[in-house]
């Protein structure tokens, strides 16, 4: 069972079958936050939701309260992780996932242009953006695998912002769909990368034939 699933199970334990539950998406958001406090925050929110807010606010306003608390806790917990000094790894992962593909493609494009005598009418269009997304997916997988899972909450938004800044600087205005496609690609690639790394860590070490320790 993953850590996230474990949090969700712990949180669900206290609810009666017909009692309104907190919003699932908000629970996932909090459990995906970096650092050791995410679990405490999730537990406290569930407890307050079930024990106090539901009775005093009603189900609808209680869910709104939960969302408000979850969203407002995100920056505080991320900043806490940054203060704790783990931000260097998240920054490295962000650079690998976002800036490296942009820089590599820019070099490639410059090389292509240098081989063509008449460069008029050449523009970096949708195909360039698609190529950028492909490269981003590959490097995002590597970045996700290299970054501790708890830091993805910082690494993914940081990568996205860096990528948007980098791509705007390198190619002017990217296509309208590029920022959203980039966010989906980065998130999927980095989460899959982190999961692959976790699976590899969990594979039990086979004992050597000699039976040594």
């Amino acid at each position: 069972m993953s850590q996230q699933d474990q949090f969700a199970t712990e949180a669900a334990v206290q609810f009666m079958p017909h009692q309104p539950h907190p919003p699932k998406l908000a629970q996932l958001l909090v459990s995906a936050l970096p650092g050791p406090y995410a679990r405490l925050v999730l537990c406290d929110l569930e407890e307050e939701f079930a024990a106090h807010i539901l009775a005093s606010h009603g189900p609808r306003r209680a869910r709104r309260w939960y969302w408000r608390q979850a969203l407002r806790s995100v920056p505080a917990l991320c900043l806490m992780e940054v203060r704790s000094g783990n931000w260097q790894l998240a920054l490295l992962a962000s650079l690998l996932a976002a800036i490296v593909p942009t820089a590599l493609l820019d070099v490639l494009w410059s090389l292509l242009l240098s081989q063509i005598p008449l460069k008029a009418g050449l523009a970096r269009g949708a195909d360039f953006a698609a190529l950028s997304l492909g490269l981003m997916a590959v490097l995002g997988l590597a970045a996700g695998a290299a970054s501790p899972r708890s830091l993805l909450g910082i690494a993914i938004p940081a990568s996205w912002i860096l990528l948007l800044l980098g791509s705007a600087a390198a190619r002017g205005t990217p296509p309208w769909w590029f920022p959203w496609a980039a966010l989906v690609t980065l998130t999927a690639a980095m989460v899959i990368g982190a999961r692959i790394a976790l699976r590899i860590q969990r594979i039990p070490q086979t004992p050597s034939p000699g039976g040594g320790s």
Binding site: Q14, V41, S73
Partner: protein
């Protein structure tokens, strides 16, 4: 006195809430105590972030306790250290001396 020796407003409020709650001071109760007494709805994340900062400064100490009942949740209980009490006292003195002789919104002027 160095800048870091002074407490921010929210840090003071958190320390006071922990003092008031005594043995039951954990994130949710601290947040609820502040909301009940000041009317401020702070996020639980901000409360834990401030408690973490205060712990790094040595002003509070925490310990994680297992869930009190089956199916319950673990809690991190906080208590104010002697340094925390001194820091609170310093902050209170600083505010008192700044208020001395001032009238704010019709309040009576304070005399030494």
């Amino acid at each position: 006195m160095a800048k870091g020796d002074f407490l921010g407003e929210f840090e003071q409020i958190i320390l006071l809430a922990v003092l008031r709650l005594q043995e039951t001071a954990y994130g949710m109760e601290v947040r609820r105590e502040i909301e009940a007494r000041t009317g401020r709805e702070n996020s639980i994340g901000a409360v834990y972030a401030t408690l973490d900062r205060l712990e790094h400064k040595g002003l509070v100490r925490s310990r994680e306790v297992p869930a009190p009942d089956a199916g319950g949740r673990p809690r991190r209980l906080y208590r104010v250290t002697a340094s925390g009490l001194r820091a609170l006292e310093r902050s209170q003195q600083a505010v008192s001396s700044m208020l001395e002789g001032l009238r704010i919104r019709g309040a009576r002027p304070q005399t030494a």
